[in-house]
């Protein structure tokens, strides 16, 4: 067993998304989530969001099969789709960030 197998994944919830996890819509909140070998980004996110019904509704589409449109998911500071997909395996010590999507300005 390697060191990364024993480390949790950090889930950082930021800006307005914090409202879904008991925050005030600003700043960030960090959570640690255990990960076992073979578990994917999607597995960890689904397990995590189940604890927060509002987040669950906002994060996923109606069928909960895919992510919805409105929350950006970053893995190790890279947007999902760059280095990781939803079905990519995660290792302990990696970080998922949930960022409220914002377009334009």
């Amino acid at each position: 067993m390697s060191l990364t197998d024993t480390l949790p994944v950090t889930i950082e919830v930021t800006t307005w998304v914090t409202k879904h996890v008991g925050g005030d819509g600003s700043g960030s909140r960090s959570f640690e989530e255990a990960v076992t070998p073979g578990q994917t980004v999607g597995d960890v996110l689904r397990r995590f969001s189940k604890r927060f019904p509002d987040l669950d509704a906002a994060l996923w589409d109606h069928a909960r099969a895919h992510l919805g449109e409105h929350i950006e998911v970053l893995v190790n500071d890279a947007v999902l789709g760059v280095a990781h997909e939803l079905d990519s395996p995660l290792k302990g010590g990696e970080r998922i960030t949930l960022l409220g999507q914002f377009m334009g300005g």
């Binding site: 449109e69 970053l74 334009g104």
Partner: protein, 641 residues
Amino acid sequence: MTPTAAVTLATKTSRQAKPATPAIPGGYTGKLLRVNLSTGKVWTQPWGPDEMREYLGGIGLGAKILYDEAGPRVHWDHPDNRLILATGPLAGLPVWGTGGLTVVTRGAMTDGATSTQAQGFFGAALKYSGYDAIVIQGQARRLSYLYINDGVVEIRDAAHLRGKDTWETQQALEAEHGLSGHRLSVYSIGPAGENLVRFAAIQGDYGHVASKNGCGAVMGKKKLKAVCVVRGTGALRAHDPRGVVQAADDIAHDLKTDPSARTLYQWGTLPAVVVLYKLGVLPIKNYTTNLSTVDMSEWEAPKLRHLFAHRGHQCSSCGMHHCHMQVIGNGPHAGEVVDEPEYEGWSGAGWQIGLTDKEAIAWLNTRIDRACVDINEFGWVCGWVMECLEKGYLTKKQVGFHLAWGDVEGAHRLLQMISQREGFGDILAEGVKRAAEKVGGEAARCAIYTKKGAAPRGHDHRGRWDEMLDTCTSSNGTMESANPTHQTEIGLPGRISPFDGEQVARLTGGILGRRHFEDSLGGCSFTFRTRVENLARALSAATGWPYTLDDAMRFGRRTAAILRAFNLRCGIGPETEYPSERYGSQPVDGPAKDHAVMAQWEKMLDVWYDTVGYDRKTGKPTPETLKALGLDWLAKDLWRK
């Protein structure tokens, strides 16, 4: 004040005595106000239900007028250029954010089509005065302003307004007419517009700016200082008033509860600073880095708002907590009332020029609006000068003084030089593309622009390829597809890989049209960040037309095709659809540093052209596309078929 032309339009009495005739759909007044500044003639032009259904208002109406009336030799500074200030069928109705206007013209930056939107009260005031749009042509002999008070329309002398900034102009006209607040809407140019700064803007109602593609230079060339509309006394009829209110309630509910819109509802565009930074999309020091040296938690929306004494400054019929006025609390400008910067202000008057003093940014942001230039282009110009001075590509002697990153007073001095076309400011007043081409050498390689000449929005598009592609391919002098909003509604994926060029191009091309539909209704792009289905329902209730999502997208695509045809006629073709060297460069650090957009650019163009149904070689919408859009008349123009 002695008017240079005064016309009392006979339609006033009849409009007030009875509702609009049944032939005119609800939401419309049925009249366009036409103004010829060369002759002083003012008249009304009726337009009918068929034209309304075909072109709606805003950019849809403006694009058709521009195409029909401004031929290829009518450049931006030609007296025959049209300056169209258009509302839409929802303007003045109780739908959030329906007080604005869309400005359509042949703009000074690209010398091509322009559409740019601003809010406030103008659109509602104009509709209540009995007009759906103002179409201005000609050029006044001396500086003038247009005064509209129900059926009274006058072209008045504006010598007393010469040199005033936009806020001073509004204050002077308020004092002159004894009206203020919601009772008088004023859109004006500042010194920059008077001096034909190529990126001059048009500002109104303290803080709302139609800023894109040099529309203020067009107004300045026409010697039109301001358009001043007294809130009219006429009523607007809706086909189904209850249906309008129901649709408006659904839109408001969407804005308050939808995950992506509710942040806008609460904070406007303030959250974008932190969010876009995390994505590598906040432009810092002219694209020389994407890493901040300050604590970004201090840049979250609540901190940006509550740093200042502030109060809401909502537009007509708007329930958003978006626009605010605020007071500078500290420093040399303490006590000054300013407009809360939008994200674009924090970026263009701040991060892009290395300035992170929030109160200084808020002050400079309003000074830019008052001198009245596009804040995006000011940022690209000012940041370029700062970088070039730092690296020795420009000298203190050339510029006239030394300007370092973050120097707010120096940036303001540069703004004044540009606005007055003084010294090096005369070169900079042409915009960064032309200034860089004139200076040449290494300096030219640092400038951020599109080959068309249009200013990119205040983002680092090297981390947002969809916006770069949209900016470069657009036909309206700014982003044309704009941001994906509820794109699953039209069968597009909810998310894509942001650095996969093919996916980016499919999405950017796929959403083309939605923004044109929004911009034709007479409302705000922020309050219209709802499902198109809701907007179509509001339009149906207002007019009585059974308007669908498909109708809306088809309408938007038609408008895009007309704008593209106009630009092709102006000589703006596919060869211009590229970013400048710096704009398309690979970031040196930050979240997007491993991604080079130019490696995929040609492929992106191929896919985009295929998606929108335009011919890759000529840039024209294909005959098949035009036929499908019901634009046979345009196909004859473009393809001689």
